[in-house]
């Protein structure tokens, strides 16, 4: 059967061909094989978590931010990064980017980091087909960040820089886990993360919003609620009676001290209600990027004063900024970050 033989031969040839080029191929977080161009100089990041990782690996390759940096955010970056244009979100909740803008920016590679569920994978595939630009999508969970950094390094042709970052990130995660392992179960306070202006939105086990708490092995009082964001009733909250409350909402933080309901909660009565720093990117919850590593150090200190007591938070901030934002904060900036009311103490 010559025909069959020919067909088998071409399949074999194709497979050989594929192996020959496989060295430059990178498998992204969704299992799709991405073939980057020989030189990647211009990267379009589809959302804030991707922007931060691309910027951390190769600041000069980032084409722009999802949303232009506001002055209070830009003060932590050098002039070039501060002036990068606003390009919009490409996928995720609502597309604000115009595909023509992405094409006009002459991107060599599109990167998104976040959810990798089917919707997002198919969107990535569609944009890749439509634009002809390779589109890599990675899982945004904090603990897979080192792997994402390495894959991005291979895609962007910056293996060494990415490897250094990945090793550092890994050692930070490992040190956090080591410290957490020293905390006995009975020393872990009942913790609650309150979002929204009334502080009544939270998430259960598996929520991307509470990944920091999960990394810290904290006793999330709302663990049984569903993953994702939910509203809880004040009665349920009093029933849980958390001993530590973390929030990202300054309005809620200010209001809770004088609110009879919140005053009845142990955490507020014992003045253990803390407000997460939010500059240049949020520490605790959003955007769901590498920025949350600082949130883990911060929350670790607040939840487990003994196991994290000797952590120099200021040093952690300096190192993080130097590696991810490529610029150490000034003393005044550091004081503003850590000295903001609520970050480390009540007022």
């Amino acid at each position: 059967m010559p025909l069959v033989r020919t067909a088998a031969g071409s399949v074999l040839a194709l497979m050989l061909c594929a192996t020959a080029q496989a060295q430059s191929d990178v498998v992204d977080g969704t299992g799709r094989t991405i073939r980057p161009p020989a030189r990647v100089e211009r990267v379009y990041a589809a959302g804030p978590p991707a922007s931060l990782l691309v910027y951390a690996i190769a600041p000069d390759k980032l084409l722009g931010w999802t949303r232009a940096l506001r002055p209070r955010e830009a003060q932590f970056f050098d002039a070039r990064a501060a002036a990068l244009p606003e390009l919009g979100r490409l996928t995720g909740r609502g597309n604000t980017a115009n595909v023509e803008v992405v094409l006009g920016a002459k991107a060599d590679l599109i990167v998104d980091v976040g959810f990798i569920a089917g919707t997002y994978t198919s969107l990535a595939e569609r944009v890749q087909v439509q634009t002809g630009i390779p589109y890599a999508l990675f899982d945004g969970r904090l603990e897979v960040t080192p792997a994402t950094l390495r894959a991005l390094g291979r895609l962007m042709g910056d293996r060494a820089a990415a490897e250094a970052l990945a090793e550092w990130f890994e050692s930070e995660l490992a040190e956090i886990r080591r410290r957490v392992a020293r905390v006995a179960p009975e020393e872990r306070p009942a913790a609650y993360y309150g979002r929204g202006p009334a502080g009544l939105q939270t998430g259960g086990r598996g929520s991307i919003n509470l990944e920091v708490l999960e990394l810290l092995g904290a006793e999330n009082v709302a663990a049984e609620a569903r993953a994702g964001l939910v509203t809880v009733s004040p009665e349920q909250l009093l029933l849980w009676n958390p001993q530590v409350i973390l929030t990202t909402d300054p309005n809620f933080w200010r209001r809770a001290w004088d609110d009879p309901l919140w005053k009845a909660v142990d955490a507020v009565a014992q003045r253990r209600l803390y407000l997460s720093p939010h500059l240049p990117f949020g520490w605790f919850d959003f955007p769901p990027g590498p920025n949350r590593l600082l949130g883990a150090w911060w929350a670790g200190r607040l939840l487990y004063p003994k196991a994290f007591g000797d952590v120099e938070l200021a040093q952690k901030v300096i190192e993080f900024h130097r590696r991810i934002y490529h610029r150490a904060p000034s003393l005044a900036q550091l004081e503003a970050l850590l000295g903001e009311p609520g970050v480390l103490g009540p007022r």
């Binding site: 609502g94 929204g196 939105q201 509203t231 009093l238 309005n251 200010r254 209001r255 009845a264």
Partner: protein, 335 residues
């Protein structure tokens, strides 16, 4: 006893039973004895030796929430009844003139500007009033049409515009932080009601509710064509303006408190009409009672069924859709 007074008595009894149940049941277990002690000591201002949390639950959490459910339910049902009668249309709900959409735009703007709870409530209230003010002033200037039709059409058109403004703000909002807050507000909830919120909203709601109740006998005339009413010596234009103002005031106050809760203002007037007929004098108070009882029951389920809160709008539409269809099937009354 006439069927009508029986309907009143039965509704009032159900309402009282629901209030008692709502005070007694919740995520936080409180015994009837503790409840009685707290309420008694609140009324006569005597000390008690219960855990402070029990008092906090009853007076700061559950009590205000029960009152808010009653107020919001009564306000939405009352406004819906008034509008259904005034517009002579069974499909009209309190937001026909854009009050809910305007309030939603105000609230969304406040969240977009990162304001606190009080700011969100005030923006919502002001947004509701402004939207209806706009609709009314534009609609009543459109000459050469039936005045009611002009109002409704202006409401629909401006409502669409406001809806687009909401969509634009959602689009521009931070997707990780503000967008969830906006979504939760638009879903509606009575979870975060504090006594202070109630103290601000209640006077405005009552400022709409009371005049409406006082004028309820005259409101029958609004169902007549304008010239007939005028022949009876009634200034329909002024009466209509008062009704719109009152209904708007109470709906805006309700929405500012609870966010958007659909179906109450559409469904309850039909249920009340089925019981006592279309005469406003009898209809309006009953609709308010049923509205209060309905929302109280819905909210009771929302806060007790699960560890997390269930959005009341989801439950009202689950109940509302089949009941509305059933009411339509069984009612033969014209209106």
């Amino acid at each position: 006893m006439s069927a009508r007074s029986f309907a009143y008595l039965a509704t009032a009894a159900v309402l009282l039973a629901l209030v008692a149940l709502a005070f007694a049941v919740g995520r936080y277990p409180i015994s009837l004895g503790e409840l009685a002690t707290v309420l008694a000591s609140f009324v006569v201002d005597s000390p008690h030796d219960l855990a402070p949390n029990v008092e906090t639950i009853v007076l700061q959490v559950r009590g205000p929430r029960v009152l808010a459910a009653l107020l919001v339910g009564a306000a939405l049902a009352g406004a819906g009844t008034a509008y259904q009668g005034m517009f002579r249309n069974p499909l009209v709900s309190p937001d026909i003139l854009g009050v809910s959409t305007g309030a939603a735009l105000g609230a969304v703007l406040a969240i977009f500007l990162s304001l606190g709870v009080l700011g969100i409530q005030l923006f919502a209230f002001a947004g509701g009033l402004a939207a209806v003010g706009m609709v009314y002033s534009v609609g009543s200037r459109l000459r050469g049409h039936d005045p009611l039709l002009a109002l409704v059409l202006t409401g629909v058109v401006l409502g669409t515009l406001l809806g687009s403004a909401i969509a634009l703000l959602k689009y521009l909002a931070d997707p990780y932080n503000q967008l969830p807050a906006i979504t939760f507000w638009l879903l509606g909830s009575l979870a975060a009601i504090a006594p202070g919120d109630l103290a601000i909203a209640a006077p405005f709601a009552l400022a709409g509710l009371v005049p409406l109740l006082l004028l309820r006998w005259r409101m029958n005339l609004l169902a007549l064509p304008d010239d007939e009413a005028r022949a009876l010596g009634v200034n329909t234009r002024r009466l209509r303006a008062i009704v719109v103002a009152a209904a708007t005031l109470m709906t805006a106050a309700a929405v500012a408190l609870s966010g958007i809760i659909g179906w109450v203002g559409l469904l309850v007037p039909h249920a009340a009409r089925l019981l006592v007929g279309p005469d406003f004098g009898r209809l309006l108070p009953l609709a308010m009672l049923i509205g209060a009882a309905f929302l109280l029951a819905v909210d009771l389920l929302c806060r007790t069924l699960a560890t997390i809160e269930i959005p009341p709008g989801v439950l009202t539409s689950l109940v509302g859709t089949p009941v509305f269809l059933w009411l339509f099937a069984v009612s033969r009354r014209t209106w």
